[in-house]
């Protein structure tokens, strides 16, 4: 039996098709968020992987900010529980999950069974989120996806003191005009993100193992800096950006078993 989970985020849509609640048979990511045709496209892309149609899917659930906007879904779930469930599938030992998305930072504590126990989210501010990195990448004239590699070349990390994305942008621009190395600047940007996220994580309490989900988890610079701030190893799965979609696909499987 096949279930589908779609995570309609603020900046990207992700989709997973799960077979019998165990095997991921399709993955798709579209860099278009809620309010666009991203959800429709990721839905079609995921089906296309195995030449499937909607009729082949036994249940479709959605999560994310755009979860109320996809008519082909059978139900919707809060992204918090979905991230918890998805990461638990990928890393059963994880008790703290840090999800850095396009606009949100979420820190979740989960039980040994992967149930959500408590959570904190960022205040109404983009500092430390994917949006922060997008803005910085724009100033540096690079792709956001390249930041991790660029930061690896740092020799003298440059401190970015402003937490506000807009003010930090000004700060980076002024530092660029003093000919600092791009790698050193990027390392400073990663440090800024990690400090902001770490503060939130400490507020929620850290229980090992710590795992990350969300697109920013693909940035090895941020992961490394955050690990230093939290003084612990951080687990990152190749499917980290799909954790929400995976989690909601797993919820869909549970509903199928209950005869929904």
């Amino acid at each position: 039996m096949l279930t589908m989970g779609i995570d309609i985020g603020s900046t990207a849509c992700k989709c997973i098709i799960l077979k019998d609640g165990l095997e991921i048979i399709a993955r798709a990511i579209v860099p278009l968020g809620t309010g666009t045709n991203g959800a429709r496209k990721v839905f079609e892309d995921a089906l296309a992987v195995n030449n499937l149609t909607k009729a082949d899917i036994d249940r479709i659930l959605v999560t994310g900010y755009g979860r109320f906007t996809f008519d082909d879904a059978d139900n919707q779930k809060s992204e918090l529980s979905c991230h918890a469930k998805g990461i638990h599938f990928l890393f059963p030992s994880a008790r703290t999950i840090i999800d850095i998305g396009g606009q949100d930072i979420k820190v979740l504590r989960v039980s040994v069974k992967g149930m959500l126990e408590k959570f904190v989210m960022n205040d109404k501010c983009a500092a430390g989120t994917g949006k922060f990195l997008d803005v910085m990448a724009g100033i540096l004239n690079v792709n956001t996806a390249e930041l991790g590699d660029i930061g690896e070349g740092a020799t003298h990390e440059v401190s970015i003191s402003n937490t506000c994305t807009v003010f930090a942008e000004s700060e980076v621009i002024s530092k660029l005009s003093t000919n600092v190395k791009i790698g050193d600047l990027v390392a400073g940007i990663h440090r800024s993100v990690s400090k902001r996220v770490a503060t939130l994580a400490f507020r929620n309490g850290i229980a090992k193992d710590v795992a990350m989900s969300g697109g920013v988890a693909l940035n090895k610079g941020v992961v490394s800096a955050l690990g230093q701030e939290l003084k612990t190893e951080i687990l990152v799965h190749r499917d980290c950006q799909l954790a929400g979609a995976l989690g909601v696909a797993l919820f869909a499987w549970e509903e199928v078993l209950k005869g929904a």
């Binding site: 900010y65 109320f68 139900n75 959500l116 126990e117 408590k118 959570f119 904190v120 205040d123």
Partner: protein
């Protein structure tokens, strides 16, 4: 597909008689002030928990800027005044939004043609300030005093950082100030203070506080007979008219209505009560409608909150020490974080709450910043989840509808898990 009811339009419900009485009472308060001004008599503006018994005894109309700001904000009329305070008046945006709104209004009403704010306050001749709810009030009222050229009668209340109960010297200090201001306001107003009437006002205040407490306690039942948000509507009786007979009549009517709900197994909560939460913090006045809509959609009744009980100023009539003690402690803002949050934990248990929803009110640092540490106290003591959301009591720039719903949904998922685990 199951969707949250974003677009369902429901007809407005018929207001109960008690709510109509509240509206009439509030109108009368503002009318009394206008009429007094027209007669050339003095009126005052007061902070929320100043000893109201003094002016009530002297029959001097008093208006309450914080309550007014809440009403103006709830009617979505506050932005203009806040912008006026931040713009030409140059107040910074990081001070309390009640202060910004009121300072803006105080300036606007000097123009006799101004009439946009609702309710519209009459300009004060004096100010009554007690800092038992916060110290920012001092600067707010200092600015009012300077801008309007009116005096302040200031009851200085000391905070209780490490004590469960205020020390004796604090009670003496407040008592002395109350005695002093009785004489001072008598002299300022030219009206004679009647101690027999003062005793009657004290007794009436206790009757009203006791009645309100009885009504609130009825909401500890499961399911609750009232939507907890309804308490926000009745607070004004205790803020504006704590010592008046009209408040007694309103509360008697309200109690009847609640008891009728209990007898008929009905509730003013507009959905099936699936979860009960304690609401921590001041209301999000401009966004109350959205708060209630989302909570209703998820079957969450905020059955009790710490804010509404702040005006239960309980003391022994005829005993000034007892009255001074009550004013030193009635607002939990004057207590330490462990004191406040232990009280919240007890309330959560007494009201059978499944969770706690905390309004991180950007304007009221004192009332909400304790949440970041305090939620751990509550979670450990009660085992219920606590969730925060960002908002503001009057400033509309802080609240985000999508963020509120996401956090409520997360809270509901944990409460649901816990409930299923309890029920096996």
């Amino acid at each position: 597909m199951i969707m949250a009811e974003h677009t369902v339009q429901k007809p407005k419900r018929v207001l109960p008689k008690s709510r109509i009485m509240v509206a009439e009472q509030t109108s009368q308060v503002y009318k009394d002030a206008r009429d007094a001004k027209a007669r050339g008599e003095k009126i005052g503006w007061s902070t929320a928990i100043f000893p109201q018994e003094i002016c009530e005894t002297l029959d001097i109309p008093v208006l309450y800027p914080e309550n007014n700001a809440a009403s103006v904000s709830a009617k979505h009329l506050g932005d203009e005044l806040i912008q006026h305070a931040e713009g030409p008046m140059r107040f910074p945006m990081n001070i309390c939004s009640y202060a910004r709104l009121n300072l803006g209004l105080a300036d606007k009403i000097q123009d006799p043609t101004y009439n946009t704010a609702d309710p519209l306050m009459s300009s004060p001749d004096f100010l009554l300030l007690a800092n038992n709810s916060c110290t920012q009030l001092m600067k707010w009222y200092e600015n009012l005093s300077r801008n309007l050229n009116v005096p302040i009668f200031f009851v200085d209340c000391l905070f209780n950082y490490y004590e469960e109960k205020p020390a004796e010297y604090k009670v003496k200090y407040i008592r002395k100030q109350i005695e002093g201001y009785i004489a001072a306001i008598e002299n300022f107003s030219g009206k004679k203070f009647n101690w027999d009437k003062f005793l009657e006002v004290q007794k009436r205040s206790q009757i009203n506080s006791k009645l309100f407490d009885e009504i609130i306690r009825l909401n500890a039942r499961t399911p609750a007979p009232l939507s907890g948000f309804d308490f926000f509507n009745y607070m004004s009786c205790l803020v504006l008219c704590r010592g008046k007979e009209s408040t007694t009549e309103i509360f008697k009517q309200l109690k009847e209505e609640v008891e009728e709900h209990i007898a008929n197994s009905t509730s003013s909560f507009p959905a099936e009560e699936e979860f009960r939460v304690h609401w921590e913090g001041i209301a999000c006045w401009p966004n109350l409608g959205h708060n209630l809509k989302i909570l209703k959609n998820y079957g969450v009744n905020a059955v009790i909150n710490g804010y509404v009980t702040a005006w239960n100023v309980v003391y022994e009539p005829g005993n000034l020490d007892s009255m001074a003690y009550a004013y030193a402690t009635s607002s939990t803002n004057s207590l330490s974080t462990p004191s406040i949050m232990n009280m919240r934990a007890d309330t959560i248990q007494n009201y059978n709450c499944d969770g706690m929803l905390c309004h991180v009110n950007r304007s009221c640092k004192l009332m909400t910043f304790h949440i970041f540490v305090g939620r751990n106290i509550v979670e450990e003591k009660t085992g219920v989840p606590c969730v925060n959301f960002d908002g503001d009591q009057s400033d509309t720039r802080v609240y985000s509808e999508a963020q509120f719903e996401t956090r409520v949904q997360g809270l509901v998922e944990i409460m649901k898990q816990n409930k299923e685990a309890r029920n096996g």
